[in-house]
């Protein structure tokens, strides 16, 4: 809704658009308290926002400066109503969201700021909800959003999604932001499973919007969507009945979402058009190897290792190197994995990453050196970012203790 209204009033009037939406929500709450929630609440809200926009446009015909290309049609009664109807039509709203998505990925904004802006404007998350997802304070997120909106407003015009050249130059930033948004949900800090699943779903919804337009439905977009589907398919199995984080090795694979797997594999197939091989292609391919295996043992670890090799060549990072080492451990045994982990370049970036220590612990444990393993898990525990991780590392520490006793 904010996206549509911003299209109408221009990006410099973002605050005005947000006020109208806020107003629509307030009215809705008042009315719904007495009459109950209507059958189609979102259509109802849209209608209220539309009428509110109509009022405002009439009252402030001269006071507000509009998005230039629309101004003339919004200023005359001959064309006001039909123009508004067109702006609020379904496919127009879809385009508004795309336009806003691209606008949020402004090159002057840091990737994190882009994601927070998307969460706030396009996904309608409140500052408190975003703060909860990032385990950050209300004030810190508010500051970040305010600053980002200023940059957005200073850009004067919303991004033109029909300009092919601009579109292609900004598409990678949009992909990246959606990828980060999804990962925030998948691996993010918030202990609340519901918040996290919602972030994943929003990222998937926005990626699906990209797929609906020929210009943005590129092979890379398909690969990114495939990756999201294949990862999201495993979400139902990531928590045990008592709310503990389960690693890939412990998950009940019968809980994986078959529909999402099928969707993901289809998208992966579609992503194979054209010569470009993005990191999303490779990551989706890795995810596809996992979801197609019936068990850890039946997983084609050799293929996964070679995919990680490709990923290291395309987008090298210490975390990718760590994941590659873990795959090597599955393929060639714990000693090889330990050797690989010790050989990671820029390992100092990983020292603050709890799963680095957990991986060392895991392979030391498999090598039978329980005491060393226990120390690694203890290190991981001190770095744990949320209660779920803490619980998980404690449980791994206990595993070392128990088998040490059994050995004695």
């Amino acid at each position: 809704m904010v996206a549509t209204l911003t299209r109408m009033f221009g990006v410099h009037n973002l605050a005005l658009a947000e006020d109208i939406v806020q107003d629509a929500f307030c009215r809705a709450l008042e009315v719904w308290r007495f009459r109950g929630v209507p059958e189609n609440p979102s259509a109802w809200l849209m209608a209220v926002a539309k009428n509110r926009a109509l009022d405002l446009l009439r009252r402030e015909r001269t006071a507000v400066t509009y998005e230039p290309e629309l101004a003339r049609y919004l200023q005359s009664e001959w064309t006001l109503a039909p123009t508004l109807n067109e702006l609020f039509a379904e496919d127009a709203i879809r385009d508004d969201q795309l336009r806003m998505m691209f606008s949020c990925c402004h090159p002057r904004l840091a990737e994190d700021a882009q994601v927070v802006l998307i969460l706030n404007i396009l996904c309608g998350f409140s500052i408190d909800e975003i703060a909860a997802a990032y385990l950050s304070s209300h004030a810190a997120i508010e500051k970040r959003i305010t600053r980002a909106k200023k940059v957005l407003a200073s850009s004067k015009k919303l991004f033109n999604i029909t300009d092919t050249a601009d579109h292609f130059s900004r598409l990678p930033a949009v992909h990246r932001a959606l990828y980060i948004l999804f990962n925030e949900g998948y691996h993010g800090a918030s202990p609340e499973a519901a918040v996290r699943a919602e972030l994943c779903h929003e990222a998937m919804r926005l990626a699906a919007l990209l797929l609906q337009r020929p210009l943005s439905a590129t092979p890379v977009t398909h690969a990114l969507s495939a990756l999201m589907c294949l990862d999201a398919a495993r979400l139902p199995a990531r928590l045990s009945g008592s709310g503990e984080l389960l690693s890939l090795f412990e998950q009940d694979r019968s809980l994986w979402d078959r529909q999402l797997i099928a969707d993901g594999l289809k998208l992966l197939e579609l992503s194979a058009a054209g010569p470009e091989l993005s990191e999303y292609h490779i990551e989706a391919a890795i995810a596809s190897v996992h979801v197609m295996a019936r068990s850890v043992e039946e997983t084609d670890w050799g293929q996964i290792v070679s995919l990680y090799d490709q990923l290291m060549a395309t987008r090298p990072s210490p975390v990718v190197a760590l994941n590659r080492a873990i795959a090597i451990g599955q393929h060639s045994g714990p000693e090889c994995a330990l050797e690989e982990i010790r050989g990671i370049a820029k390992a100092d970036h990983l020292v603050r990453y709890p799963f680095y220590h957990a991986a060392l612990g895991e392979f030391e444990l498999r090598g039978g050196r329980n005491e060393i393993a226990r120390e690694h898990f203890a290190n991981a525990l001190t770095l744990a970012r949320n209660p779920m991780e803490r619980k998980f590392f404690k449980q791994r520490m206990d595993a070392c203790g128990n088998s040490a006793q059994r050995g004695a």
Binding site: S76, W78, T79, N85
Partner: protein, 113 residues
């Protein structure tokens, strides 16, 4: 380029909301075309049929304008065109003609003092 006023008469104000919406779409399409060709100075507005008339030195006020519905001015637009002939050609696209109405094309008079 010269400026002209289009005065529309004979708007169908009794149409159903659905018909009304269709009609407004036609108007918008027409204005859009004029705008893209650079002929639109000011879209102007549609006007209600009834209002008040103030008349004469006594400033007497009456309800008005009391003309036949088809003779009441139902809206106006400011147009830019090369000459009266071109402005008249442009007026031929007006949707009001479909419902039996008329467009009056009047050049803006330049008063030199």
């Amino acid at each position: 380029m010269s400026e002209f006023t289009f005065l529309y008469r004979g708007r169908d104000t009794t149409a159903s909301p659905e018909q009304m919406q269709k009609t407004m779409e036609k108007w918008r399409a027409w204005f859009k075309e004029l705008g893209e060709k650079g002929h639109l100075k000011d879209i102007g507005h549609p006007l209600e049929d009834a209002g008040k008339v103030v008349k004469g030195k006594q400033k007497t006020i009456t309800d008005g304008p009391f003309a036949e519905a088809k003779d009441v001015v139902g809206g106006f637009t400011l147009i830019e065109a090369r000459d009266l002939q071109q402005a008249t050609e442009l007026a031929k696209g007006c949707p009001i003609l479909d419902v039996g109405g008329s467009v009056e094309i009047r050049p803006i008079q330049k008063l030199n003092m």
